[in-house]
Protein backbone atom coordinates (compact mmCIF):
# COMPACT_ATOMS: atom_id res chain seq x y z
CA UNK A 1 0.00 0.00 0.00
CA UNK A 2 3.00 2.16 0.20
CA UNK A 3 3.06 4.02 -3.10
CA UNK A 4 1.63 0.83 -4.60
CA UNK A 5 -1.41 2.44 -6.19
CA UNK A 6 -1.49 2.36 -9.98
CA UNK A 7 -3.59 5.25 -11.33
CA UNK A 8 -6.30 4.38 -13.83
CA UNK A 9 -9.89 4.90 -14.93
CA UNK A 10 -11.05 1.27 -15.01
CA UNK A 11 -14.25 -0.04 -13.47
CA UNK A 12 -12.24 -1.34 -10.53
CA UNK A 13 -10.56 2.04 -10.02
CA UNK A 14 -13.93 3.79 -10.04
CA UNK A 15 -15.69 1.32 -7.76
CA UNK A 16 -16.37 2.84 -4.30
CA UNK A 17 -13.69 1.74 -1.84
CA UNK A 18 -16.18 0.54 0.77
CA UNK A 19 -17.90 -1.73 -1.78
CA UNK A 20 -14.51 -2.90 -3.04
CA UNK A 21 -13.27 -3.68 0.48
CA UNK A 22 -16.45 -5.60 1.35
CA UNK A 23 -16.26 -7.50 -1.96
CA UNK A 24 -12.63 -8.36 -1.20
CA UNK A 25 -13.54 -9.67 2.26
CA UNK A 26 -16.39 -11.81 0.88
CA UNK A 27 -14.33 -13.09 -2.07
CA UNK A 28 -11.34 -14.01 0.08
CA UNK A 29 -13.66 -15.85 2.49
CA UNK A 30 -15.22 -17.79 -0.40
CA UNK A 31 -11.79 -18.66 -1.86
CA UNK A 32 -10.65 -19.83 1.58
CA UNK A 33 -13.49 -22.38 1.60
CA UNK A 34 -13.04 -23.69 -1.99
CA UNK A 35 -11.81 -27.27 -1.90
CA UNK A 36 -11.39 -28.36 -5.54
CA UNK A 37 -8.37 -27.43 -7.68
CA UNK A 38 -10.72 -26.77 -10.62
CA UNK A 39 -12.77 -24.20 -8.69
CA UNK A 40 -9.60 -22.53 -7.38
CA UNK A 41 -8.15 -22.55 -10.92
CA UNK A 42 -11.25 -20.73 -12.17
CA UNK A 43 -10.97 -18.22 -9.27
CA UNK A 44 -7.33 -17.56 -10.19
CA UNK A 45 -8.22 -17.17 -13.88
CA UNK A 46 -10.98 -14.67 -13.02
CA UNK A 47 -8.56 -12.76 -10.78
CA UNK A 48 -6.02 -12.65 -13.62
CA UNK A 49 -8.76 -11.36 -15.94
CA UNK A 50 -9.54 -8.62 -13.39
CA UNK A 51 -5.88 -7.51 -13.52
CA UNK A 52 -6.30 -7.13 -17.30
CA UNK A 53 -9.61 -5.26 -16.90
CA UNK A 54 -7.93 -2.89 -14.41
CA UNK A 55 -5.10 -2.24 -16.89
CA UNK A 56 -2.38 -3.30 -14.44
CA UNK A 57 0.97 -3.82 -16.21
CA UNK A 58 2.34 -7.39 -15.77
CA UNK A 59 5.42 -5.96 -14.00
CA UNK A 60 3.26 -4.45 -11.25
CA UNK A 61 1.06 -7.53 -11.03
CA UNK A 62 4.16 -9.66 -10.48
CA UNK A 63 5.44 -7.22 -7.88
CA UNK A 64 2.15 -7.61 -6.01
CA UNK A 65 2.12 -11.40 -6.09
CA UNK A 66 5.84 -12.20 -6.45
CA UNK A 67 6.89 -12.24 -2.77
CA UNK A 68 4.43 -15.03 -1.98
CA UNK A 69 6.23 -17.38 -4.38
CA UNK A 70 9.24 -17.38 -2.04
CA UNK A 71 6.96 -18.61 0.75
CA UNK A 72 5.40 -21.21 -1.54
CA UNK A 73 8.84 -22.44 -2.54
CA UNK A 74 9.17 -23.82 0.98
CA UNK A 75 5.50 -24.36 1.88
CA UNK A 76 4.47 -26.41 -1.19
CA UNK A 77 7.15 -29.16 -0.93
CA UNK A 78 6.65 -29.28 2.84
CA UNK A 79 2.88 -29.57 2.45
CA UNK A 80 3.24 -32.12 -0.34
CA UNK A 81 5.55 -34.26 1.77
CA UNK A 82 3.56 -34.05 5.00
CA UNK A 83 -0.07 -33.93 3.77
CA UNK A 84 -0.07 -34.84 0.09
CA UNK A 85 0.44 -33.17 -3.29
CA UNK A 86 -3.28 -32.55 -3.93
CA UNK A 87 -3.45 -30.55 -0.73
CA UNK A 88 -0.23 -28.70 -1.66
CA UNK A 89 -1.65 -27.64 -5.04
CA UNK A 90 -4.94 -26.50 -3.46
CA UNK A 91 -3.03 -24.52 -0.81
CA UNK A 92 -0.79 -22.88 -3.44
CA UNK A 93 -3.72 -21.92 -5.67
CA UNK A 94 -5.64 -20.55 -2.71
CA UNK A 95 -2.73 -18.48 -1.39
CA UNK A 96 -1.81 -17.05 -4.81
CA UNK A 97 -5.46 -16.14 -5.54
CA UNK A 98 -5.96 -14.44 -2.17
CA UNK A 99 -2.69 -12.50 -2.41
CA UNK A 100 -3.50 -11.49 -6.01
CA UNK A 101 -6.95 -10.27 -4.97
CA UNK A 102 -5.45 -8.21 -2.14
CA UNK A 103 -2.81 -6.88 -4.55
CA UNK A 104 -5.49 -5.93 -7.05
CA UNK A 105 -7.31 -4.03 -4.31
CA UNK A 106 -4.24 -2.00 -3.32
CA UNK A 107 -3.25 -1.38 -6.95
CA UNK A 108 -6.66 0.10 -7.77
CA UNK A 109 -7.39 1.94 -4.51
CA UNK A 110 -5.60 4.98 -3.10
CA UNK A 111 -4.55 4.84 0.54
CA UNK A 112 -6.92 7.76 1.28
CA UNK A 113 -9.79 5.76 -0.17
CA UNK A 114 -8.78 2.68 1.86
CA UNK A 115 -8.60 4.76 5.04
CA UNK A 116 -11.94 6.38 4.20
CA UNK A 117 -13.47 2.92 3.69
CA UNK A 118 -12.03 1.60 6.96
CA UNK A 119 -13.32 4.67 8.78
CA UNK A 120 -16.78 4.29 7.21
CA UNK A 121 -16.95 0.63 8.20
CA UNK A 122 -15.72 1.30 11.75
CA UNK A 123 -17.87 4.38 12.43
CA UNK A 124 -21.01 2.49 13.52
CA UNK A 125 -19.01 0.51 16.10
CA UNK A 126 -19.41 1.79 19.66
CA UNK A 127 -16.30 2.98 21.52
CA UNK A 128 -14.16 2.89 18.37
CA UNK A 129 -12.68 6.21 17.19
CA UNK A 130 -12.78 5.52 13.45
CA UNK A 131 -10.73 8.65 12.57
CA UNK A 132 -7.98 7.63 14.99
CA UNK A 133 -7.87 4.09 13.59
CA UNK A 134 -7.65 5.54 10.06
CA UNK A 135 -4.81 7.83 11.09
CA UNK A 136 -3.06 4.96 12.84
CA UNK A 137 -3.18 2.94 9.61
CA UNK A 138 -1.89 5.91 7.58
CA UNK A 139 1.01 6.40 9.98
CA UNK A 140 1.83 2.71 9.96
CA UNK A 141 2.03 2.79 6.16
CA UNK A 142 4.09 6.00 6.31
CA UNK A 143 6.50 4.48 8.85
CA UNK A 144 7.71 1.83 6.39
CA UNK A 145 9.69 4.12 4.02
CA UNK A 146 10.68 6.40 6.90
CA UNK A 147 12.25 3.53 8.85
CA UNK A 148 13.75 2.12 5.68
CA UNK A 149 15.51 5.45 5.03
CA UNK A 150 16.77 5.61 8.61
CA UNK A 151 18.15 2.06 8.48
CA UNK A 152 19.68 2.73 5.04
CA UNK A 153 21.51 5.85 6.18
CA UNK A 154 22.68 4.15 9.40
CA UNK A 155 24.09 1.26 7.33
CA UNK A 156 25.95 3.76 5.12
CA UNK A 157 27.36 5.59 8.13
CA UNK A 158 28.37 2.26 9.68
CA UNK A 159 30.25 1.24 6.53
CA UNK A 160 31.89 4.68 6.27
CA UNK A 161 33.20 4.34 9.82
CA UNK A 162 34.37 0.76 9.31
CA UNK A 163 32.24 -0.84 12.03
CA UNK A 164 30.51 -3.31 9.74
CA UNK A 165 30.10 -6.10 12.28
CA UNK A 166 28.81 -4.16 15.26
CA UNK A 167 25.13 -4.79 15.97
CA UNK A 168 25.14 -1.98 18.51
CA UNK A 169 26.39 0.43 15.83
CA UNK A 170 23.14 -0.25 13.95
CA UNK A 171 20.62 -0.66 16.75
CA UNK A 172 21.45 2.43 18.81
CA UNK A 173 21.34 5.05 16.00
CA UNK A 174 18.29 3.40 14.41
CA UNK A 175 16.38 3.53 17.70
CA UNK A 176 17.52 7.07 18.52
CA UNK A 177 16.69 8.41 15.04
CA UNK A 178 13.37 6.55 14.95
CA UNK A 179 12.33 8.12 18.25
CA UNK A 180 13.52 11.52 17.05
CA UNK A 181 11.53 11.15 13.81
CA UNK A 182 8.45 10.01 15.75
CA UNK A 183 8.76 13.11 17.92
CA UNK A 184 9.06 15.38 14.87
CA UNK A 185 6.18 13.61 13.14
CA UNK A 186 4.07 14.11 16.26
CA UNK A 187 4.79 17.86 16.16
CA UNK A 188 3.93 17.96 12.44
CA UNK A 189 0.64 16.14 13.07
CA UNK A 190 -0.31 18.63 15.79
CA UNK A 191 0.66 21.54 13.53
CA UNK A 192 -1.54 20.04 10.78
CA UNK A 193 -4.53 19.90 13.11
CA UNK A 194 -4.74 16.20 13.85
CA UNK A 195 -5.84 16.91 17.42
CA UNK A 196 -8.81 19.00 16.21
Amino acid sequence: MNGFYHPGRSLLHRMPAVAKLLTLIVTVTVVAFLRSPEALGIALAVTTLLFVVAGIPPRLALRAVGPVFWVLLIAVPLNGWLVGWDSAVIMALRVVTVVALAGLFTLTTTVSAVLGAVETLLRPLPRVDADRVGLLLALTIRAIPLLSEIVGSVFEARRARGVDRSLRAIAVPVIVRSLQSADELGDALIARGVDD
Partner: protein, 226 residues
Protein backbone atom coordinates in the same frame (compact mmCIF):
# COMPACT_ATOMS: atom_id res chain seq x y z
CA UNK B 1 -1.64 40.98 8.97
CA UNK B 2 -1.67 38.91 12.13
CA UNK B 3 -0.96 40.39 15.51
CA UNK B 4 1.37 38.17 17.54
CA UNK B 5 2.29 39.21 21.07
CA UNK B 6 4.75 37.68 23.50
CA UNK B 7 4.12 38.98 27.03
CA UNK B 8 6.82 38.19 29.58
CA UNK B 9 7.46 34.76 28.04
CA UNK B 10 10.02 32.46 29.64
CA UNK B 11 10.67 28.78 28.99
CA UNK B 12 13.06 26.18 30.37
CA UNK B 13 14.08 22.71 29.26
CA UNK B 14 15.08 21.11 32.56
CA UNK B 15 17.53 23.50 34.21
CA UNK B 16 18.36 25.25 30.94
CA UNK B 17 16.55 28.51 30.25
CA UNK B 18 15.79 28.70 26.50
CA UNK B 19 13.69 31.88 26.60
CA UNK B 20 14.04 34.63 29.19
CA UNK B 21 11.28 37.19 29.71
CA UNK B 22 10.48 37.88 26.06
CA UNK B 23 8.23 40.83 25.18
CA UNK B 24 7.51 41.26 21.48
CA UNK B 25 4.72 42.43 19.21
CA UNK B 26 4.91 41.12 15.65
CA UNK B 27 2.66 42.80 13.09
CA UNK B 28 4.94 43.14 10.03
CA UNK B 29 4.38 40.94 6.99
CA UNK B 30 7.83 39.37 6.85
CA UNK B 31 9.88 38.80 9.96
CA UNK B 32 13.16 36.94 10.24
CA UNK B 33 14.59 35.31 13.36
CA UNK B 34 18.30 34.55 13.54
CA UNK B 35 20.67 33.32 16.19
CA UNK B 36 23.16 30.60 17.03
CA UNK B 37 22.01 27.01 17.64
CA UNK B 38 20.41 26.83 21.08
CA UNK B 39 19.68 30.57 21.20
CA UNK B 40 15.92 29.93 21.57
CA UNK B 41 14.74 30.95 18.09
CA UNK B 42 12.95 27.66 17.29
CA UNK B 43 11.28 27.59 20.69
CA UNK B 44 10.16 31.19 20.13
CA UNK B 45 8.30 30.36 16.90
CA UNK B 46 6.94 27.05 18.23
CA UNK B 47 5.16 29.04 20.91
CA UNK B 48 3.10 30.78 18.23
CA UNK B 49 1.08 27.70 17.32
CA UNK B 50 1.23 25.98 20.68
CA UNK B 51 3.78 23.28 19.88
CA UNK B 52 5.48 24.57 23.02
CA UNK B 53 3.60 26.18 25.93
CA UNK B 54 5.35 28.94 27.86
CA UNK B 55 6.18 28.24 31.51
CA UNK B 56 5.80 31.94 32.28
CA UNK B 57 3.98 34.71 30.45
CA UNK B 58 1.65 34.23 27.51
CA UNK B 59 1.54 34.33 23.73
CA UNK B 60 -1.43 35.94 21.97
CA UNK B 61 -2.31 35.51 18.30
CA UNK B 62 -4.90 38.04 17.14
CA UNK B 63 -5.87 38.48 20.79
CA UNK B 64 -6.29 34.75 21.50
CA UNK B 65 -4.11 33.15 24.17
CA UNK B 66 -2.39 30.25 22.40
CA UNK B 67 -2.24 28.13 25.57
CA UNK B 68 -6.04 28.33 25.92
CA UNK B 69 -7.08 28.31 22.26
CA UNK B 70 -4.35 26.25 20.62
CA UNK B 71 -6.67 24.48 18.14
CA UNK B 72 -8.29 27.69 16.91
CA UNK B 73 -4.90 29.37 16.61
CA UNK B 74 -3.39 26.44 14.70
CA UNK B 75 -6.07 26.80 12.03
CA UNK B 76 -4.64 30.23 11.30
CA UNK B 77 -0.96 29.43 11.76
CA UNK B 78 0.77 27.13 9.28
CA UNK B 79 4.11 25.63 10.33
CA UNK B 80 6.87 24.40 8.03
CA UNK B 81 9.53 22.29 9.73
CA UNK B 82 13.20 21.86 8.87
CA UNK B 83 12.94 18.22 7.84
CA UNK B 84 10.20 17.71 5.24
CA UNK B 85 10.43 13.93 5.68
CA UNK B 86 8.83 14.08 9.09
CA UNK B 87 5.97 16.29 7.84
CA UNK B 88 4.76 13.83 5.22
CA UNK B 89 1.94 11.69 6.56
CA UNK B 90 0.27 10.17 3.51
CA UNK B 91 1.85 7.95 0.85
CA UNK B 92 1.22 10.05 -2.25
CA UNK B 93 1.74 13.74 -2.94
CA UNK B 94 -1.95 14.48 -3.60
CA UNK B 95 -3.09 12.54 -0.53
CA UNK B 96 -0.62 14.34 1.70
CA UNK B 97 -1.84 17.78 0.59
CA UNK B 98 -5.46 16.61 1.00
CA UNK B 99 -4.64 15.42 4.54
CA UNK B 100 -4.36 19.05 5.67
CA UNK B 101 -8.00 19.64 4.72
CA UNK B 102 -9.44 16.78 6.79
CA UNK B 103 -10.09 19.04 9.76
CA UNK B 104 -12.02 21.54 7.62
CA UNK B 105 -14.62 18.91 6.59
CA UNK B 106 -15.04 20.44 3.12
CA UNK B 107 -17.25 18.88 0.43
CA UNK B 108 -15.14 16.44 -1.63
CA UNK B 109 -15.27 18.54 -4.82
CA UNK B 110 -14.17 21.73 -3.00
CA UNK B 111 -11.35 19.85 -1.26
CA UNK B 112 -10.19 18.32 -4.57
CA UNK B 113 -10.22 21.75 -6.26
CA UNK B 114 -8.13 23.27 -3.47
CA UNK B 115 -5.67 20.39 -3.57
CA UNK B 116 -5.30 20.69 -7.37
CA UNK B 117 -4.74 24.45 -7.07
CA UNK B 118 -2.08 23.99 -4.38
CA UNK B 119 -0.29 21.29 -6.40
CA UNK B 120 -0.28 23.50 -9.49
CA UNK B 121 0.96 26.54 -7.56
CA UNK B 122 3.99 24.65 -6.28
CA UNK B 123 4.70 22.84 -9.53
CA UNK B 124 3.73 19.46 -8.06
CA UNK B 125 0.78 18.68 -10.34
CA UNK B 126 2.83 16.32 -12.51
CA UNK B 127 3.94 14.47 -9.36
CA UNK B 128 0.48 14.28 -7.76
CA UNK B 129 0.21 10.48 -7.77
CA UNK B 130 3.88 9.81 -7.01
CA UNK B 131 5.01 8.29 -3.72
CA UNK B 132 5.77 11.30 -1.52
CA UNK B 133 8.79 9.71 0.16
CA UNK B 134 10.46 9.23 -3.23
CA UNK B 135 10.56 12.96 -4.04
CA UNK B 136 13.80 14.93 -3.88
CA UNK B 137 14.52 17.02 -0.78
CA UNK B 138 13.45 20.22 -2.53
CA UNK B 139 10.27 18.67 -3.86
CA UNK B 140 9.47 17.35 -0.38
CA UNK B 141 9.84 20.83 1.09
CA UNK B 142 7.59 22.24 -1.66
CA UNK B 143 5.10 19.51 -0.76
CA UNK B 144 5.32 20.62 2.88
CA UNK B 145 4.63 24.20 1.72
CA UNK B 146 1.68 23.08 -0.42
CA UNK B 147 0.32 20.99 2.46
CA UNK B 148 0.46 23.99 4.79
CA UNK B 149 -0.88 26.58 2.36
CA UNK B 150 -3.79 24.50 1.08
CA UNK B 151 -5.43 25.14 4.45
CA UNK B 152 -5.10 28.90 3.78
CA UNK B 153 -3.50 30.01 7.06
CA UNK B 154 -3.13 33.75 7.69
CA UNK B 155 0.29 33.29 9.30
CA UNK B 156 3.08 31.02 8.02
CA UNK B 157 6.04 30.04 10.18
CA UNK B 158 9.06 28.35 8.62
CA UNK B 159 11.68 26.90 10.97
CA UNK B 160 14.93 26.64 8.99
CA UNK B 161 13.08 25.51 5.84
CA UNK B 162 16.18 25.46 3.62
CA UNK B 163 18.77 23.99 6.00
CA UNK B 164 18.62 20.48 4.52
CA UNK B 165 18.37 21.62 0.87
CA UNK B 166 21.02 22.13 -1.79
CA UNK B 167 21.58 25.62 -3.20
CA UNK B 168 19.17 25.29 -6.13
CA UNK B 169 16.32 23.85 -4.08
CA UNK B 170 16.94 26.34 -1.30
CA UNK B 171 16.56 29.14 -3.86
CA UNK B 172 13.29 27.67 -5.19
CA UNK B 173 11.80 27.29 -1.70
CA UNK B 174 13.01 30.79 -0.80
CA UNK B 175 11.31 32.24 -3.88
CA UNK B 176 8.02 30.55 -3.00
CA UNK B 177 8.26 31.81 0.57
CA UNK B 178 8.96 35.30 -0.74
CA UNK B 179 5.84 35.20 -2.92
CA UNK B 180 3.46 34.48 -0.02
CA UNK B 181 0.88 37.12 0.81
CA UNK B 182 0.49 35.78 4.37
CA UNK B 183 2.36 37.08 7.37
CA UNK B 184 5.61 35.12 7.30
CA UNK B 185 8.05 34.37 10.12
CA UNK B 186 11.23 32.61 9.05
CA UNK B 187 13.90 31.16 11.33
CA UNK B 188 17.06 30.76 9.31
CA UNK B 189 20.84 30.78 9.16
CA UNK B 190 20.67 32.01 5.54
CA UNK B 191 20.96 35.70 6.22
CA UNK B 192 20.61 36.76 2.58
CA UNK B 193 17.05 35.36 2.66
CA UNK B 194 16.09 38.11 5.13
CA UNK B 195 17.52 41.15 3.37
CA UNK B 196 14.18 42.33 1.96
CA UNK B 197 12.18 41.46 5.09
CA UNK B 198 10.61 44.22 7.18
CA UNK B 199 12.09 43.13 10.49
CA UNK B 200 14.78 40.84 11.86
CA UNK B 201 15.03 39.61 15.45
CA UNK B 202 18.40 38.42 16.70
CA UNK B 203 18.34 35.89 19.56
CA UNK B 204 21.17 35.00 21.91
CA UNK B 205 21.00 32.80 24.99
CA UNK B 206 17.19 33.03 25.17
CA UNK B 207 17.07 36.81 24.87
CA UNK B 208 16.33 39.26 22.05
CA UNK B 209 19.60 41.13 21.55
CA UNK B 210 18.57 43.02 18.41
CA UNK B 211 15.20 43.83 16.88
CA UNK B 212 15.44 46.09 13.89
CA UNK B 213 15.28 46.46 10.13
CA UNK B 214 17.37 43.80 8.33
CA UNK B 215 20.30 46.16 7.63
CA UNK B 216 21.33 47.02 11.20
CA UNK B 217 20.09 43.75 12.76
CA UNK B 218 22.01 41.53 10.34
CA UNK B 219 25.09 43.74 10.56
CA UNK B 220 25.10 43.28 14.33
CA UNK B 221 24.58 39.53 14.00
CA UNK B 222 27.32 39.17 11.37
CA UNK B 223 29.70 41.07 13.63
CA UNK B 224 28.79 38.80 16.55
CA UNK B 225 29.50 35.57 14.67
CA UNK B 226 32.66 36.77 12.93
Amino acid sequence: MGDIRFEGVSHHFGDDAVLRDIDLTLTEQRIGVVGANGSGKSTLVRLVNGLVSPQAGRVLVDGQDVAKHAREVRRRVGFIFTNPDTQIVMPTVREDVAFSLRRLKLPATDAAARVDAALERFGLDALADRAAHKLSGGQKQLLALAAVLVAEPSIVIADEPTTLLDGRNARIVTEYLGSLHQQLIVVTHQLELLEDFERVIVMEDGRVVADDAPGPALELYRAAIR
